[in-house]
């Protein structure tokens, strides 16, 4: 990524070798400065939190009342939300790409709504109208999180589909005797692996960190528990949030690593949290009569 941007920045009239040399000289310095600045910005608060919590607090975290319940609830919600989101968004996005390409713009603006509407407004509205049997279960949150995750899931899938010549792949698959289910399962989904991974990561991360809605819905998810427990013991609560941060981080790293290793094998693409960059090797246009 950085190399590509660098190339564009250094573009201009200088001939190849000269330009390359200049790039080698000037860019690494800036790269390091930006890296250090960003590192300081992100790491100092973490370090401060670590100091405040103290190493001993980490051992106590797991024994606190409510900790495991809150963590398990958050994980359950993450799984439910991810499954629902993918089940809803994958067929929709594929269908729109194949059959209703003109709707893409509309879908794009619709899916941005959850970002524009504040979570407080959303949850307040939902709690007003939701039937009692839904309000009495924490899994109502899962249903709302699907809406929150939609912008991220849609964008990941859209980028993944854009990188494929979907029309041709589907036609080829059909002409070889594959029906819709086989085509989706054996042709489309495997080639969307990177995008699916990215959608999963974003959705799971969103659920694991969501506070406002869960708090207003009066259910103790992990972030809610951390804030609540802060009243009891500041250091232990801080240790818990640090632990959550590291666990989430390791979890995301795992998904991304597995995803890109597979993608490398098949030349698919790179897993990127916000976009799917696909290495196209001179695909011809799809014109014709």
């Amino acid at each position: 990524m950085a190399a590509v941007i660098g190339e564009e920045l250094a573009g201009g009239t200088a001939p190849g070798p000269l330009r390359a040399a200049r790039r080698r000289r000037s860019l690494p310095v800036w790269r390091w400065i930006i890296l250090v600045l960003a590192g300081v910005y992100f790491l100092i608060p973490l370090y401060a939190a670590l100091r405040f919590a103290g190493i001993a607090s980490f051992g106590q975290v797991v024994h606190q009342t409510g900790f495991s319940d809150a963590l398990i609830l958050s994980l359950k919600l993450a799984v439910i939300t991810t499954v629902l989101t993918l089940a809803l968004m994958v067929p929709t996005t594929v269908y729109v790409h194949l059959r209703l390409p003109r709707l893409r713009r509309l879908l794009e603006s619709v899916t941005i709504l959850p970002i524009v509407i504040p979570p407080v407004v959303l949850i307040a509205g939902v709690l007003q109208v939701a039937p009692a049997y839904l309000k009495s279960t924490p899994y109502l949150l899962g249903l709302i999180y699907v809406i929150l995750a939609m912008p991220f899931a849609y964008r990941s899938l859209d980028a993944g589909l854009r990188a494929l010549d979907l029309r041709t792949l589907v036609d080829a698959s059909n002409s070889l005797g594959a029906g819709w289910r086989s085509t989706l399962w054996r042709v489309i989904l495997p080639n969307l692996r990177t995008a699916l991974m990215s959608a999963t990561v974003l959705t799971a991360a969103l659920v694991l960190g969501e506070f406002t809605m869960a708090s207003l819905d009066l259910y103790q998810t992990f972030p809610v528990w951390i804030v609540a427990f802060d009243q009891t013991s500041g250091p232990v609560s801080t240790a818990a949030s640090l632990l959550a941060l590291f666990l989430t981080w390791v979890f995301l790293l795992l998904i991304v690593t597995v995803g890109s290793r597979r993608a490398r094998r098949t030349g698919g693409g790179q897993v990127d949290l916000f976009s799917v960059v696909r290495h196209e090797t001179g695909r011809p246009g799809t014109g014709g009569s």
């Binding site: 494929l164 010549d165 041709t168 792949l169 036609d171 080829a172 698959s173 059909n174 002409s175 070889l176 005797g177 594959a178 029906g179 086989s182 054996r186 042709v187 495997p190 080639n191 692996r193 094998r265 098949t266 030349g267 698919g268 290495h279 090797t281 001179g282 695909r283 011809p284 246009g285 799809t286 014109g287 014709g288 009569s289």
Partner: protein, 366 residues
């Protein structure tokens, strides 16, 4: 799968007897997209084992015709029958037609071998026999060594050969080729063109080939159908098409054609000081001012002081040299002469251009 696969003992590498193609018939196909008519009453009969090329400028409806035949599009009216049976109700997945696409269509998540075996997998063939057969097909297109490679590890030409093997693996009744060579560079295109033709003839498979490249169409096809505005202008063998074009459009679309002003009367036309006969067939304009259509090889050129034209350009093309001559009234013509005699015909030379006496095609004055 087809009525032909069970007969014959001389099965070839693809496990299919020679001459096993199905006859295809397109009747009065029409199709509009929005307000645009893509097909306008197209009819075409294709004999078993025949390779027919659909040739035409982009937007003439040739790809639409192919997609209707494949089952990807439905016609507004008209019928498609294969082996005498109407296939309108048969979905693409059940039509048993192999197709090679213009853009690279291999499944990126599968190796070359898995790609070729995909259609067999959909036909519930066991893994072992599937792999064996896919390997045979890959060998047939000369890519055994690349069986384990993924599409991104193959060149464009190799990808299209795998796509061809994949299309042939299902022993299709009809092979559909949608500009399969247009993304490749010239040399690979030439090689693959020959390979496709060779395989097609060996397997005797009925083939429809869509292209906008006339050289490709003329060199590969048994018959070429020239399309314009959604219907066929002429369907004929390549030499027939070239030598006896039915319409001015065909004449000018296929090969190089000169337009020279002439006067038509009683079926004979006078142009460049010569009176010659005209072709039968085609649409003949009324007597009077017409344009005469002549190929570069149908004109004679001689260097003469005070002739009717001046050489403006020359292009060396091996054994032949193409001379561009400017006649009066701003008419430029191209003439082919043997390179051995083209020496004196330098730009600026005054020349006499005349018809060689054979009948010509005439059309309305433009």
């Amino acid at each position: 799968m087809t009525t032909n696969t069970t007969t014959g003992t001389t099965a070839n590498a693809a496990g299919r007897p020679a001459g096993g193609g199905a006859p295809v018939s397109l009747r009065d196909l029409a199709r509009s997209f929005g307000g645009v008519r893509a097909l306008n009453g197209l009819s075409l009969d294709i004999a078993p084992g025949e390779l027919v090329a659909l040739l035409g400028p982009s937007g003439c409806g040739k790809t639409t015709a192919l997609r209707i035949l494949a089952g990807f599009e439905t016609a507004d009216s008209g019928t498609v029958s294969v082996d005498g049976k109407d296939v309108a109700a048969v979905p693409a997945a059940k039509r048993d037609m192999g197709m090679v696409f213009q853009s690279y269509s291999l499944f990126p998540n599968m190796s070359a071998l898995e790609n070729v075996g995909f259609g067999l997998r959909m036909r519930k063939l066991r893994a072992a026999s599937r792999r064996r057969r896919a390997a045979e097909l890959l060998e047939m297109v000369g890519l055994s060594a690349h069986a384990r490679h993924f599409p991104h590890q193959l060149s464009g030409g190799q990808q299209q050969r795998v796509a061809l093997a994949r299309a042939l693996a299902i022993e299709p009744r009809v092979l559909l080729l949608d500009e399969p060579l247009s993304a490749l560079d010239a040399k690979v295109r030439l090689q693959l063109r020959e390979q496709i033709r060779l395989l097609q003839q060996r397997l005797g498979i009925t083939t429809v080939f869509v292209t906008h490249d006339q050289e490709e169409a003329l060199s590969m096809a048994d018959r070429v159908g020239v399309m314009k505005d959604g219907s066929l202008e002429q369907v004929a063998a390549p030499d027939e098409l070239y030598n006896h074009p039915a319409t001015a459009f065909v004449a000018e679309f296929v090969g190089t054609m000169n337009r020279i002003p002439g006067e038509l009367s009683d079926g004979r036309v006078s142009a460049l000081g010569t009176v010659v006969g005209t072709h039968a067939g085609g649409v003949h304009p009324a007597d009077g001012s017409v344009d005469v259509l002549v190929r570069p090889e149908g004109l004679r050129v001689a260097a003469i002081a005070g002739g009717n034209g001046i050489v403006t350009d020359r292009t060396f093309r091996g054994s032949q040299t193409r001379i561009t001559v400017l006649l009066s009234q701003d008419v430029a013509v191209q003439v082919d002469v043997a390179s051995s005699t083209a020496g004196p015909l330098l730009p600026g030379t005054s020349v006499q251009i005349s018809l060689d006496g054979s009948p010509v095609l005439v059309t309305e004055r433009r």
